[in-house]
């Protein structure tokens, strides 16, 4: 196992796929000569050339559509959208074309594209650069949505996404590119569906994905050492489809659930997980499930307000203690 950073893991996966299949291409703003805003394509332009590592104009709907169209006839594009905030501009092509083409062509066409994009709130980037959009993508049939919480998943999910014949949206995080973690030395394909138990526990399940997995793990350590509460942490790396069986299994074991997400609560991952709990294992519950989520506001620029708008490990701890009547 080599230790590498999140961006290095993504870079390695893309490098291997580019080397393997001449139909794999990488495209996006500043992915080529500049090596990628978050370095995820560093050196690939030099290695594979301008035809396969494409610096695009700022035409999100256009170049995403280009990738999707090319994928109809055999190309396997990995499209980097510099930030999810700009993915709004490409929604037409992602939703109307990529997600639906297999269905509306009666199965004749498919759009095996990978769209990678960082979401999340970083540090004071303001309202138009702080969106968390996974909730938007996960609600659309025909699209797969995955969101790696560590370098191993990042590597393995990019690999699997490139091989998958459905369009896959990979939701990354601006604050996680320098996170370090172990990645297998041999080729590794992370499943595009399912969930992972990141920490075993008996008393309550903390559901997280991407950055919120880390809040949950931190909260779990604290709660174990200070309050004797044994949390299970479930990493929902696949948001579409969500792992119904995994959610059910964990809640049936702990009988309590808290869902931590960086996005605002309405119509979010939390609401969806709660609905699944309701449908799958309502009578297993010892307490009403709780969401830990962002304030329902556009993200303010001021740093104090920004911090207050976004939840973290402390909020998870607070929610658990409240659930156990300790606060």
């Amino acid at each position: 196992m080599a230790v590498m950073m999140y961006w290095e893991a993504i870079r390695r996966a893309q490098d291997e796929e580019l080397a393997r299949d001449p139909m794999v291409i990488v495209m996006g703003e500043d992915v080529g000569v500049a090596g990628g805003t978050y370095k995820a394509t560093k050196g690939l332009y030099e290695k594979y050339g301008a035809e396969r590592v494409i610096d695009t104009p700022i035409s999100e709907n256009g170049f995403t559509g280009l990738g999707i169209g090319a994928s109809f006839i055999g190309v396997r594009p990995i499209i980097e959208i510099m930030s999810v905030n700009f993915a709004w501009l490409a929604m037409d092509q992602i939703f109307n074309s990529a997600a639906k083409v297999r269905y509306m062509s009666g199965g004749q066409l498919e759009a095996p594209v990978v769209i990678r994009s960082p979401g999340g709130t970083a540090h004071q980037l303001g309202a138009q650069h702080s969106a968390r959009m996974e909730k938007v993508f996960m609600g659309v049939a025909g699209l797969r949505v995955v969101t790696p919480s560590n370098p191993r998943q990042a590597y393995g999910l990019v690999k699997s996404a490139v091989r998958c014949n459905d369009p896959v949206f990979i939701n990354e995080h601006e604050l996680m590119y320098n996170m370090k973690g172990e990645v297998p030395d041999e080729e590794y394909f992370h499943p595009l569906e399912g969930s992972e138990v990141a920490r075993q526990g008996r008393d309550v399940t903390l559901f997280g994905y991407n950055i919120s997995v880390h809040w949950c793990l931190e909260a779990a350590e604290f709660l174990a050492s200070h309050h004797g509460i044994d949390c299970e942490v479930v990493d929902l790396y696949s948001l579409s489809p969500l792992d119904r069986a995994g959610i059910k299994a964990s809640v049936s074991k702990t009988h309590r659930a808290i869902i931590a997400e960086e996005a605002e609560a309405p119509v979010g991952v939390g609401s969806e997980v709660m609905a699944i709990i309701n449908e799958e294992c309502f009578f297993e519950l010892d307490a009403a499930p709780v969401r830990v989520s962002a304030r329902n506001v556009p993200i303010p620029y001021n740093h104090r307000l920004e911090k207050a708008a976004i939840p973290g490990a402390k909020d998870v701890v607070h929610a658990v203690l409240k659930m156990f009547g300790k606060q």
Partner: protein, 325 residues
């Protein structure tokens, strides 16, 4: 040339340069965060165009808009305080560097999505056309924005409905790290206007007098009801795209060449040579600008942070799910 006008241009550009330098310093010191896009090198564009505008005109700008706000009359105090994220800021600390607003001065904002300013500007222009007013909209965007669909969609509608919009392309030849010939099939941006039968011109954006003259003529055209106008100002940014970018993709030679055409220094030299401004007066203006910037930093540092998270989400406070149990 009118002396007062030249003096104004000089002062505006000087204030702009010093303000941005101070912003960079404050960023390094940690008082400003997020993406900070600075304007040194491009001053002649904002100054030349905005000084050609009337107080009744509207302005819609991008995330690289500190100087547009300053020239429009937003105080250095209010701009700096916004960069600090404080209530004394022109967006009360909620917006930040990329989202400066001052509706009183008809400064309708800084927008951080590339290509976003154009549809907004034609909307404002549409309202003005409904009024039959002689006011215009000044719409700013970079060379990178012209490949968004919104550029073409907006130019078409503006031309179709003869909207009073002056489209101002600040062509600094880069969209972050991608040089214009690598992002645009037609790098002479003003020529794109002909697809919509729109009047257009390219001007040396390093020469404030040239920009001013071109903007005056263009605004006259717009005010006469002859339809929109695309003014391309060829310019250059001396710093990286933002504080996060070193600009390593540009050669030192290229930067040096453009620095030799520094719009501020060029005007200064010419103004002294032509006797438009006396050397002593230059010193006084420098002193004045320096003080304005220092006072802005002091003002920003003392201004309190905003404290109401839910201010401005809706017109009236809405009893909605506010998040976090």
């Amino acid at each position: 040339m009118q002396r007062d006008l030249v003096r104004q241009f000089f002062y505006d550009m000087l204030l702009a340069r010093l303000f941005e330098q101070a912003a960079a310093e404050q960023y390094v010191q940690g008082n400003i965060a997020g993406f900070l896009h600075l304007y040194p090198g491009e001053e002649a564009v904002a100054v030349g165009t905005l000084r050609a505008a009337d107080p009744g005109d509207y302005v819609v700008s991008t995330y690289r808009e500190h100087v547009h706000a300053l020239v429009r009359g937003v105080s250095a105090d209010a701009v700096m305080a916004e960069l600090f994220g404080r209530v004394g800021g022109c967006s009360r600390g909620y917006g930040g560097s990329m989202h400066l607003f001052d509706v009183q001065r008809r400064f309708l904002g800084g927008y951080a999505i590339v290509g976003e300013t154009l549809p907004i500007a034609i909307g404002v222009g549409y309202r003005l056309a409904m009024n039959g007013a002689r006011d215009a909209v000044l719409c700013y965007f970079g060379d990178g924005a012209v490949n968004q669909g919104t550029f073409h969609e907006s130019l078409n509608m503006a031309a179709l409905w003869k909207l009073p919009v002056l489209f101002i392309c600040e062509n600094n030849h880069y969209q972050i790290g991608t040089e214009i010939h690598r992002h645009s099939a037609m790098a002479e941006i003003y020529r794109r206007a002909c697809a919509y039968g729109m009047a257009a011109k390219r001007v040396d954006g390093m020469d404030v007098l040239a920009v001013y003259g071109a903007a005056r003529a263009a605004l006259e055209h717009v005010r006469e009801g002859l339809g929109p106008y695309l003014l391309e100002c060829e310019t250059y940014r001396y710093r990286g795209h933002s504080m996060a970018d070193s600009g390593a993709y540009r050669s030192a030679l290229e930067v040096a060449e453009l620095q030799a055409r520094d719009p501020l220094l060029t005007l200064r030299a010419r103004a002294v040579e032509e006797g438009w401004i006396a050397a002593a007066e230059i010193e006084a203006l420098e002193e004045k600008a320096q003080q304005a910037v220092e006072s802005a930093v002091r003002f920003a540092a003392q201004s309190p942070p905003p404290d109401d998270m839910y201010h401005g989400v809706y017109a009236q406070p809405v009893d909605l799910y506010r998040g976090q149990p």
